[in-house]
C-alpha cells in the first residue's frame, strides 16, 4: 500500500493539475476571458498572450482556464448521472430478472440503437441548449451502456455461491444486492466511467460544433476546439491547445481510473 503505482502517480499529477487550473480559472485569469481585443486578433503565442489569442483577440490561456471548470463540471455531472442511472437500471434488470428485465433490456437496446450523439441531439431539443440540457442529455444518452455492463456483471455474479450464502445467512434481497453484488461491479464500472469522461468531453465539443453546446461566449474546451476549425490554417494553436488539454486530462483520468480499479481490488493488495 505504501508505494504508488506509476499509473496513480502520473494520473494523479495530470488530474491534480486539471483540478487546480479549473479552480484557479474560476477566480483569476491573466486576462478577462471575454474581453475582445481586435488588435490581438489571431495573435500567435507570445509573451503577452502565452498561448496566443483567438479570432476575437481573446486570450486563449484565460479562456482555457475558465473552460476547464465548465468542461470539468459538465463531464463530471454527465458521468455521475449516467453511472447512477445506469447502475440502478442494470442492477434491477440483472437481479430481478423476469419481465422487469425484458422490459428494461428492450428499452436500453432501443436507446443503444441510436448513436449517442443523435440521442443527445434529440434530448437537447427538449431540454434546451444550455449546460443543464447538455448534462442531462449526455447523461441519459450514456445510461444504456452503463446499464448493459452492470446487468451483465450482475447476471454472472448472481450465479456465484457467495450470493446463495448470503441468502442462507438470512439477508434480504436488497441487502444482498447492495452488500455483495454492487461492490463486485466496481472494477468494470471504474473502467467504463473513466472512459466516459473522454466521451463527454468529445461529445460536448461535437455538440458545440453543431451549435448546440454550451452557448458562446462562455468557453469550454469543446467549443473552443470547435470554434478553432475555420482558422486551422492561419492559427493552428487555437485548435492545438484545447486539444492538448482534452488529451492530457483524458490520459490522466484513465490512468487514475486504472490505478483506482487496482487499488479497490483486494487481490491487488498483495498478501499481508
Amino acid at each position: 500500500m505504501k508505494t504508488l503505482s506509476a499509473n496513480a502517480l502520473v494520473g494523479g499529477l495530470f488530474v491534480g493539475a486539471f483540478v487546480i487550473v479549473a479552480c484557479l480559472g474560476s477566480v483569476w485569469t491573466p486576462y478577462d476571458p471575454m474581453a475582445l481585443d481586435m488588435k490581438a486578433r489571431l495573435a500567435g503565442p507570445s509573451a503577452r498572450h502565452l498561448l496566443g489569442a483567438d479570432e476575437f483577440g481573446r486570450d486563449v490561456l484565460s479562456r482555457l482556464m475558465l473552460g476547464a471548470s465548465a468542461s470539468g463540471i459538465v463531464s463530471l455531472a454527465t458521468v455521475a448521472i449516467a453511472t447512477v442511472l445506469g447502475t440502478a437500471l442494470g442492477a434491477i434488470s440483472g437481479y430481478v430478472g423476469g419481465w422487469t428485465d425484458r422490459v428494461l433490456v428492450a428499452v436500453t437496446n432501443a436507446l443503444l440503437a441510436f448513436p449517442g450523439i443523435l440521442l443527445a441531439l434529440g434530448l437537447l431539443a427538449i431540454f434546451g441548449a444550455n449546460k443543464f440540457g447538455i448534462v442531462l442529455a449526455l447523461g441519459i444518452a450514456y445510461t444504456p451502456s452503463v446499464a448493459r455492463i452492470v446487468r451483465g456483471t450482475v447476471l454472472s455474479l448472481r450465479e456465484k455461491e457467495f450470493i446463495d450464502a448470503s441468502r442462507i445467512a438470512g439477508d434480504s434481497e436488497i441487502y444482498t444486492l447492495l452488500r455483495h453484488i454492487l461492490p463486485n461491479c466496481i472494477a468494470p464500472l471504474t473502467v467504463l466511467t473513466t472512459s466516459m469522461f473522454g466521451w463527454t468531453l468529445l461529445s460536448e465539443s461535437a455538440l458545440s460544433f453543431l451549435g448546440l453546446g454550451v452557448p458562446p461566449p462562455a468557453p469550454t474546451w469543446g467549443n473552443m476546439l470547435a470554434a478553432a476549425r475555420p482558422y486551422l490554417a492561419q492559427a493552428t494553436w487555437l485548435a492545438i491547445f484545447p486539444g492538448l488539454c482534452i488529451s492530457v486530462a483524458l490520459l490522466g483520468i484513465n490512468l487514475l481510473g486504472d490505478a483506482l480499479r487496482d487499488r479497490l481490488d483486494p487481490k491487488m493488495r498483495g498478501t499481508q
Binding site: E161, F162, R167, G170, D171, N184
Partner: protein, 538 residues
C-alpha cells in the same frame, strides 16, 4: 528387454526464466517403454501437468526448460523445429485433457473435428476417413455413430464428450497417450466407465500411456508403475503394487492415508426427525417442455446424524439440497422442521434460516472476494439481534478457532487463502449461528486429496462436538463411506434405496447402488504398511 525406451525424460528442470525463482519441475527423470502404462500422482502445484506439457512442447508462456532433456523415440525433442513437433503431436503423441466441456470446439461437428487429425497426419481418402471415424465412435460406445458425426459437442453429456475426445485421439493410433486428469470433471460411475474404455483401447492398440491424476486409487487401477510428485520433485517411483503395499516416502504414505476409509459405525438414537421432506416435486421449465427433476421425494433427517445423499450428476440431489436449504421453491411437497411446516412465507422461516446453514462446493466462489474472512464469517450473525458487536467478534474468533484458523485470518481476504483454508472459513460461516442442520453440497469435491481428508476429519469432529445434523451431498462414495451414518441413494429424481451406511455399502439391494459402489475401491491395510485396493463387483 533390450527394447529402446519410447520416452525418456532426463533430469528435466522447468521454471520461470527468472533465475532466482524456484523451479516448477525440479530434476525429474522418467523412462517409458512402448506399451507401458505409468501414472503420475500429485496434488495441485506438484508440477505433474507441467512435466507432460514439456514432453509435447506445449509449455505455458513464461515457463521455460532450464535443464535436462526429453527424448521421444530416440529423438531429442528440444532440438525439433516447431513444424516437426507439430507433426509429432496427435500422430505419435495423443493428449486428453481434463475438461471435456471445453476441449472440443463448440462450432464444429464431431465428424469435422475427428477428421481434422486424419486429414493432417494420414494419407487416407475421404471415404476411408469417414468409415474409420464411424468405426471408432462405435468402439467408444456411441449409440448412433451416423448421427453423432453430424452432431455438435453441446448435444452430448460430459461423459460422452470425453468418449468422443478419446475416440478422436485414439483414431490416429499414437504410440504414446497422455491423459491429464481425464475424468476429474465427471461423476464416479461415468468416470469408471470412461477409464475402463480408455484402458481397453490402450491395451488393444498397445499404446503407452501416462495417466496424470491426483487420485491414487484411480491411478493404481490402470497403471503398472507410478511416480509420486510433490512440489516439482519426484519423491518416489516404483511399480504400482510396491508403491501401494510398501510406500517408502512419507508423502506417499500421507497420500495413501488420505484415501477415504470407513470409520466405525455410530449408534444414532431413534428420535423424532429434525427435518422431513414429503412428496417433494420439482420440474425445471414449464408446460410441455418441463423437465422433471424430483418425482415425489420423502426424506427424514434425524437430530445429530450425518445423512449422505448420493447419486450421479442429474440425479436431483443438489436440487433437493437447495430446496431443503430454502433456496428453491418446490412445485409440490412440504418441508417440516421440528414438526412445523416451513417455507419462505411461513412465520417460522427466519428461525429456520438460523438453524439451517450450508457449505458450498466451490470455496473459490462461495466467499465474497471483496470481504475479509472475519466479515464473511460474521455475516450470518447480523441477524442475531440479541448479540452485541463484541459478542459477534468473540463468536467469530471462536468458530475460526474451531475450524483451525488462527485469529489473524479474520483480517485476510479470500484470495490470500488456500482452497482448504477457504473451505474452513466457509464451514466457520455455516457454524457461526450454531445451526441444528448443516447442508454440505459436495463440500470436499473441489479439494486436493490430502486437504479433502483434513476437511472431512474436521467436519466429522465438529459434528461430534456440536451435535448438528448434516445432510452431506456427494457423488464420491469413498468420502461418504468415511463420514456418513446413513446413506440415501438418488437416481433420476427418485430415491433408489436408503439405509445405514454399512447396509448400503455391504448389502446394497438396488442395481444402481451396486454400480455406484463398483466405482470405489475398498481399502484394507497391507502387510508392508500400505494398502490393498479391492474392487466390488458391479
Amino acid at each position: 528387454m533390450t527394447q529402446l525406451p519410447l520416452l525418456t525424460v532426463e533430469q528435466l528442470v522447468l521454471g520461470t526464466s527468472a533465475a532466482m525463482a524456484p523451479p516448477v519441475v525440479d530434476c525429474v527423470s522418467l523412462t517409458l517403454r512402448a506399451g507401458e502404462r505409468i501414472g503420475i500422482v500429485g496434488e495441485s502445484g506438484s508440477g505433474k501437468s507441467m512435466l507432460m506439457r514439456a514432453v509435447i512442447g506445449l509449455l505455458p508462456p513464461g515457463i521455460v526448460r532450464r535443464g535436462g532433456c526429453v527424448r521421444f523415440a530416440g529423438r531429442d525433442m528440444s532440438g525439433l523445429a516447431p513444424d516437426d513437433l507439430r507433426k509429432l503431436r496427435g500422430k505419435s503423441i495423443g493428449l486428453i485433457f481434463q475438461e471435456p466441456m471445453t476441449s472440443l470446439n463448440p462450432a464444429l461437428t464431431i465428424g469435422r473435428q475427428m477428421e481434422e487429425g486424419l486429414a493432417l497426419h494420414t494419407t487416407m481418402d475421404a471415404s476411408a476417413r469417414q468409415s474409420a471415424i464411424l468405426a471408432m465412435l462405435k468402439r467408444v460406445g456411441i449409440a448412433d455413430p451416423d448421427a453423432a458425426v453430424r452432431a455438435f459437442p453441446h448435444e452430448f453429456s460430459g461423459g460422452m464428450r470425453q468418449r468422443i475426445m478419446i475416440a478422436s485421439v485414439m483414431l490416429l493410433e499414437p504410440a504414446l497417450l497422455i491423459a491429464d486428469e481425464p475424468t476429474t470433471a465427471l461423476d464416479a460411475v461415468v468416470q469408471r466407465d470412461v477409464l475402463e474404455l480408455l484402458h481397453a483401447l490402450v491395451e488393444e492398440k498397445g499404446t503407452a500411456m501416462v495417466l496424470i491424476s491426483h487420485d491414487m486409487a484411480m491411478v493404481a487401477q490402470y497403471t503398472d508403475r507410478v511416480l509420486v510428485m510433490q512440489k516439482g520433485v519426484c519423491v518416489e517411483e516404483g511399480t504400482t503394487a510396491e508403491l501401494l503395499g510398501m510406500p517408502r516416502h512419507d508423502y506417499t504414505r500421507k497420500l495413501l492415508s488420505a484415501l477415504p476409509r470407513r470409520a466405525p459405525a455410530r449408534a444414532v438414537a431413534p428420535n423424532a426427525p429434525l427435518a422431513s421432506v414429503r412428496n417433494m416435486k420439482l420440474a425445471y421449465g414449464s408446460g410441455t417442455g418441463a423437465k422433471p427433476v424430483l418425482h415425489g421425494i420423502d426424506l427424514d433427517i434425524h437430530p445429530g446424524e450425518i445423512v449422505a445423499l448420493v447419486g450421479g450428476s442429474g440425479s436431483g440431489k443438489t436440487t433437493l439440497g437447495r430446496i431443503i436449504a430454502g433456496l428453491l421453491q418446490p412445485d409440490e411437497g412440504t418441508l417440516t422442521f421440528r414438526g412445523q411446516v416451513v417455507n419462505r412465507k411461513s412465520s417460522g422461516f427466519a428461525d429456520y434460516r438460523a438453524n439451517c446453514q450450508m457449505v458450498f462446493q466451490d470455496p473459490y466462489s462461495s466467499l465474497d472476494p471483496r470481504m475479509r474472512i472475519g466479515d464473511i464469517v460474521a455475516a450470518p450473525l447480523r441477524h442475531e439481534k440479541s448479540m452485541r458487536a463484541a459478542d459477534r467478534r468473540a463468536r467469530v474468533d471462536e468458530v475460526l478457532a474451531e475450524v483451525g484458523l488462527a485469529p489473524q485470518f479474520a483480517e485476510r481476504f479470500p484470495h490470500q487463502l488456500s482452497g482448504g483454508q477457504r473451505q474452513r472459513a466457509a464451514i466457520a460461516r455455516a457454524l457461526a449461528r450454531r445451526p441444528d442442520l448443516v447442508i454440505a453440497d459436495e463440500a470436499v469435491s473441489a479439494l486436493d486429496l490430502t486437504v479433502k481428508a483434513q476437511i472431512l476429519t474436521l467436519l466429522s469432529k465438529l459434528q461430534r462436538e456440536q451435535g448438528f445434523a448434516c445432510l452431506f451431498i456427494s457423488h464420491d462414495l469413498g468420502v461418504v463411506e468415511q463420514i456418513a451414518d446413513r446413506v440415501v441413494v438418488m437416481h433420476k429424481g427418485v430415491i433408489e434405496e436408503q439405509g445405514s451406511r454399512d447396509e448400503i455399502f455391504d448389502r446394497p439391494s438396488s442395481a444402481y447402488t451396486r454400480k455406484l459402489l463398483s466405482a470405489v475401491p475398498m481399502l484394507t491395510p497391507a502387510a508392508g504398511g500400505g494398502i490393498d485396493l479391492v474392487w466390488r463387483a458391479a
